[in-house]
């Protein structure tokens, strides 16, 4: 029996084949195509090798540094500022005793996670509309004049932050809620008998129990710091605010597929890819080391 199970079965490679063909077309060949970052891409004929030309242009371009800055600021808001929100959400939800109310809250707040950014952008553009949007109607109740947030450079990043929270806060709280439910009730019961206050229970029982989950989520998110959310920015962008929310991925798309500067765009992709790879690998190793759980 044992010798039988050791024999390799080439038929299994056949099962793997469709996936391998997909990887080849959509991943491996495009990754090898990165070499065009060092060439001047020509559609017909041989593309000449130009070394680091495109990288030199990239790193001497003020536009690129603005894009990099936008990416870092938006990621900072969406990863670090946003970080406590789902935790607070889960902590509050855990205190709701009525099963019906809890289910209602969960079913409504998880929903936006499944809507596309096209739909969410549509909803938010309507909600923030200066003429008949809900938010400006609310402002009206407080005697404030309507404000057009979608075209306001100083507000648009907060619109990104708020819409991200609107979409993800409920969904992202699930992992914390699961960790909260796993805490043994006897811990709280004995704390109650000792006369511990709500705050003390939070400080000495809940937070320490949540810490591993918090560390895992935080570190893994850091691995995607250069992404900043293409679909969201792409759909909420307009000419008035492009200078403050243009991120690496939207920039790569625009110079590559709109302006058709194939090699230059690929150089920018390669830059993002290399830094991103370092971030992901260190996030994985960091997480593995601290919590024993990594990306793979």
């Amino acid at each position: 029996m044992h010798s039988l199970s050791k024999k390799k079965d080439w038929g299994l490679v056949l099962l793997l084949a469709p996936a391998l063909i997909y990887f080849l077309v959509y991943h491996i060949i495009p990754i090898l195509g990165m070499s065009m970052a060092f060439q001047d891409y020509r559609i017909i004929g041989k593309s000449p090798f130009v070394g680091l030309k495109h990288f030199r242009i990239l790193f001497s371009s003020p536009a690129f540094f603005q894009v990099l800055r936008n990416t870092l600021i938006i990621s900072f808001m969406k990863i670090i500022l946003y970080f406590p929100l789902p935790i607070i959400f889960a902590l509050m939800l855990n205190e709701v005793r009525s099963g019906f109310i809890r289910k209602f809250i969960q079913s409504t707040t998880y929903l936006p996670h499944f809507l596309s950014w096209v739909v969410i952008a549509g909803i938010w553009i309507a909600f923030l509309s200066p003429t008949n949007g809900g938010f400006n109607q609310l402002r009206g109740f407080f005697g404030l004049p309507p404000h057009d947030y979608m075209t306001d450079k100083s507000a648009i990043r907060w619109v990104l932050f708020a819409s991200e929270a609107w979409r993800s806060m409920g969904w992202d709280s699930i992992i914390y809620l699961a960790a909260l439910i796993a805490i043994s009730p006897s811990l709280y019961e004995s704390a109650d008998l000792d006369g511990a206050s709500t705050l003390q229970k939070m400080r000495f029982i809940t937070l320490p129990e949540l810490l591993p989950t918090m560390v895992t989520v935080f570190i893994l998110n850091m691995g995607f710091f250069l992404n900043a959310g293409f679909d969201q920015v792409f759909n909420m962008m307009n000419d008035s605010v492009i200078s403050v929310i243009d991120i690496l991925d939207t920039y790569v798309y625009r110079i590559g597929l709109v302006n058709m500067q194939y090699s230059f765009s690929t150089a920018a992709s390669l830059f993002k890819g290399v830094i991103g790879l370092m971030l992901i690998v260190s996030a994985h190793c960091g997480s593995k080391k601290i919590t024993g759980k990594g990306l793979w």
Binding site: I101, Q106, V118
Partner: protein, 305 residues
């Protein structure tokens, strides 16, 4: 969804705790309202009588009057109706293909008999963490002649490596003695996958199928770069042009709208709202299933650690 595991307490709850509990409940209900109001507002806008649409403000959640005229206009628009068909086609064919290819790969990768198993595992991880440049992917699709074809959109993310790994975790739970017994009986790999692995991991297929299905329904970006003929566009792309980019010509310009006498009275905003509602509807329909499988999966994954 979440199991109710709070037994009635014998200890009397201090008043402060009771108060904070109510505050939390109210705050969370506000979050629910914040999600629901913009959605209900669009629904109200889309169902209101065209002559009373101007009465619908941002926080209105009940239609003013009632009319299905916006939906009738959309129904009469060939581009819009075609886009729904395209989206349904992409979603069904795409998800079926995803499940077949992903489960075959996951099965092969979990079998100890797979030759070069280690190499294939490393390759999978490399695929997961290396993001190919957009332009390079675009040029490959162009070169192999998929440009302008729905297949370029359907095949994108045929295998999502994250889901592949989730599926492998499920398959690893299946006792290997079951599979080995079938092998001794001379069953082929495909038979084992179909008759043993699949029935034992239906919830994995359901969960991952939902992941993939939602992904395909919501996809617009690959469609926007690979498709050239507007009659092939999926709904999300039409929605993006019409609502996000505010491009009237894309829908209204296609003629059918003006064949309606009421067209002049129609509110552009109400028509946009109806488009959004139509795009959300399928997600709402499968949402109870999503809550059942998906959320439970995430919860269990979290508990297991």
């Amino acid at each position: 969804m979440v199991k109710d595991k709070y037994p009635p307490k014998k200890v009397r709850i201090p008043r402060a705790e009771l108060f904070s509990r109510w505050c939390f409940t109210i705050l969370l209900l506000l979050a629910s309202i914040l999600v629901l109001v913009p959605l209900l507002n669009l629904l109200a806008l889309s169902l209101s009588d065209p002559s009373r649409v101007s009465e619908v403000r941002g926080l209105t959640i009940v239609p003013k009057g009632f009319s299905l005229i916006n939906y009738k206009v959309l129904y009469a628009n060939p581009l819009f109706m075609r886009s729904i068909l395209n989206s349904v086609f992409i979603t069904i064919v795409g998800t079926a293909l995803n499940l077949i290819v992903t489960s075959m790969a996951a099965f092969a990768l979990t079998r100890p008999k797979l030759p070069f198993k280690r190499f294939f595992m490393v390759l999978t991880i490399v695929i997961m963490i290396l993001e190919p440049p957009l332009v390079a992917e675009y040029l490959v699709i162009k070169k192999i002649g998929l440009m302008g074809s729905l297949w370029a959109v359907i095949l994108y993310k045929t295998v999502n490596v994250y889901y592949l790994i989730i599926m492998m975790r499920y398959f690893e739970e299946i006792p290997s003695s079951l599979i080995e017994a079938a092998e001794v009986d001379g069953a082929t790999n495909m038979t084992i996958l179909r008759n043993i692995v699949f029935p034992l991991s239906k919830s994995a297929f359901a969960t991952i199928g939902l992941f993939y299905g939602v992904f395909h329904w919501n996809e617009y970006f690959r469609a926007s770069i690979y498709l050239t003929d507007p009659m092939k566009y999926p709904l999300q792309l039409i929605l993006r042009q019409f609502v996000v980019l505010d491009d009237t010509a894309s829908l209204i310009g296609s003629g059918a709208l003006y064949s309606y006498n009421e067209a002049a009275r129609l509110s552009y905003n109400a028509l946009q709202a109806s488009t959004i509602i139509v795009a959300i509807l399928p997600v709402l329909i499968i949402y109870p299933l999503v809550l059942k499988y998906y959320t439970r999966g995430v919860m269990e994954g979290g508990v297991k650690e």
